[in-house]
């Protein structure tokens, strides 16, 4: 078994193969030079910790040895020969496979305007995080292009480090994708309160460099100076390898409900794949979420062993900004009506109901983990395709757990 990509998904898959009784050889190939590590802290703790942040590793050398998983760091797979069933490495060596998992993840979307600028950067890897962190100094002028999760988490971190921060967003509001307006407003207000200059609805016209700084020009002629420009305008799936191997590609590597590509010996999972989401009637999506990468890694491993289990879970992700915790389960754009439930302490949850009354998503925000428990219960209701009484959802004195029992 060969797993290409040693992120959250690939590592989970490698261990899951062993946990499910596979005794043969497992090779996990990763292009990065570090032991596999978690990405979510890169925009959060790793930016603000007093001490130099060590990568938060997912697995140790010892665990790989113990499970007899051969982990090749700093090694890129450059080709897949499907006829000969071999993967090919940059140095020309090859390795035969029985089944392959593509867990190649995603990389930041490039802003064409910024390609010439040496003051513009992106965040995906631990090394990116260290470089950005070094520039988050008191008094530094940081511009962030993109008011999505990574941009806003970085904005919060940069403020904590005492830098001055401007966020530029071309859309009418922040977090356009996946977060309802009522919650985006709270997050935007909090950033404003912390001193972030949040500019939505802008249009960029150019970025030019001098030695020390970049100048960002807007379409209306205004210009802004920044010591560092961090671009967070979304991510694109890493599909080149799959494409060159002749596999079907859409917004990601196309897989069926078993996470299998159009070649039955090749699977794809995590941020790189577009899969049918069964709770929404097979709507094809690509997720960029940590728990999904783990769950799909586990599922792909089981299916590489022939279990043929369908993907059933409900999408879920979180984001932390300042002391605010946001969690969303399901895809909010599936809903047409919103029911609000207040949890106290400025925490609340929005339930998203489809036109026929089915609960399809829930999004919540509050201090710390105030919304976690109820979001998790909502997730179970969503997984059951429940039609809860809207009055019960709104009534904070009725426990969500009791709706689950019903």
């Amino acid at each position: 078994m060969v797993i290409i990509g040693a992120g959250e998904c690939g590592v989970r898959a490698a261990f899951a193969l062993r946990e499910n009784g596979y005794g043969g050889s497992i090779t996990l190939v990763g292009a990065e030079k570090h032991l596999p590590y978690e990405r979510p802290p890169l925009s959060k703790d790793a930016m603000i910790s007093e001490e130099h942040p060590a990568p938060r590793t997912i697995a140790s050398e010892h665990q790989f040895l113990e499970r007899n998983i051969s982990f090749l760091a700093d090694t890129a797979v450059t080709g897949i020969d499907r006829k000969a069933k071999k993967v090919i490495f940059a140095n020309g060596n090859s390795l035969a496979y029985d089944k392959v998992l593509l867990a190649t993840g995603a990389i930041p979307r490039i802003l064409p305007l910024a390609v010439e600028s040496k003051h513009c950067t992106y965040l995906r890897s631990y090394d990116d995080a260290l470089a950005i962190r070094a520039r988050f100094q008191p008094g530094a002028n940081i511009a962030i292009i993109g008011g999505g999760f990574i941009g806003l988490e970085l904005a919060a971190s940069a403020r904590k480090r005492g830098a001055s921060v401007t966020v530029l967003e071309t859309q009418a509001r922040v977090l356009m994708r996946g977060v309802p307006e009522e919650i985006a407003k709270i997050i935007a207000a909090r950033h404003a309160q912390e001193g972030v200059h949040l500019r939505c609805g802008i249009e960029l016209s150019g970025i030019s460099d001098n030695d020390a700084r970049a100048t960002i020009t807007l379409a209306d002629g205004e210009s802004l100076e920044a010591d560092l420009v961090v671009i967070g305008i979304g991510a694109t799936p890493v599909t080149a390898l799959a494409e060159a191997a002749g596999l079907e590609i859409g917004n990601g590597i196309i897989v069926n409900e078993h996470l299998q590509t159009d070649d039955p010996a090749i699977f794809a999972a995590g941020d790189c794949c577009a899969f049918p989401l069964s709770i929404y009637g097979g709507r094809r999506v690509r997720l960029e979420a940590w728990r999904n990468a783990q769950e799909q890694g586990t599922l792909a491993a089981r299916n590489m062993l022939g279990l043929a289990e369908p993907h059933l879970s409900v999408p879920w992700f979180w984001s932390d900004q300042y002391d605010l915790g946001l969690q969303v389960s399901g895809l909010a754009d599936e809903g047409s009506t919103i029911i609000r439930r207040d949890l106290g302490d400025d925490a609340f949850i929005l339930f998203h109901l489809a036109s026929d009354g089915r609960l399809v998503a829930a999004s919540g925000i509050g201090p710390g983990n105030a919304v976690a428990r109820d979001i998790r219960l909502a997730e179970m209701l969503i997984a059951r395709r429940a039609y809860p009484d809207p009055a019960h959802l709104a009534a904070s004195d009725i426990k969500l757990k009791s709706l689950l029992a019903a």
């Binding site: 989970r12 261990f15 978690e38 997912i58 940590w290 728990r291 783990q294 879920w316 979180w318 710390g368 983990n369 105030a370 976690a372 428990r373 998790r376 219960l377 757990k401």
Partner: protein
Amino acid sequence: MSDWIEACTADDIDEEDVMRFDHEGRTFAIYRSPDDEFFATDGLCTHEHIHLADGLVMDDIIECPKHNGRFNYKTGQAKGAPVCVNLRTYPVKVEAGKVLIQLSQ
């Protein structure tokens, strides 16, 4: 032995629920199982030191509110990624409606 500490009363916790208990700079989580027994563990998740008492109890599992790491709160056993380090557990007894936990051991 005088190392039994009163954490709360039995009525403070619903069945299949959890409560936070702080004592001398340490934090614990006290659980009441669906079959009405009481248990205690360290209060912080072994992944990122998050208070488990904000999490969800299902049968004998406590699920961390932050990234859904799961532990068996009766044994402290970590149930898999992202948590791999077990939770410490503490003996618990209920006397006259009071929940007592034994810390030094």
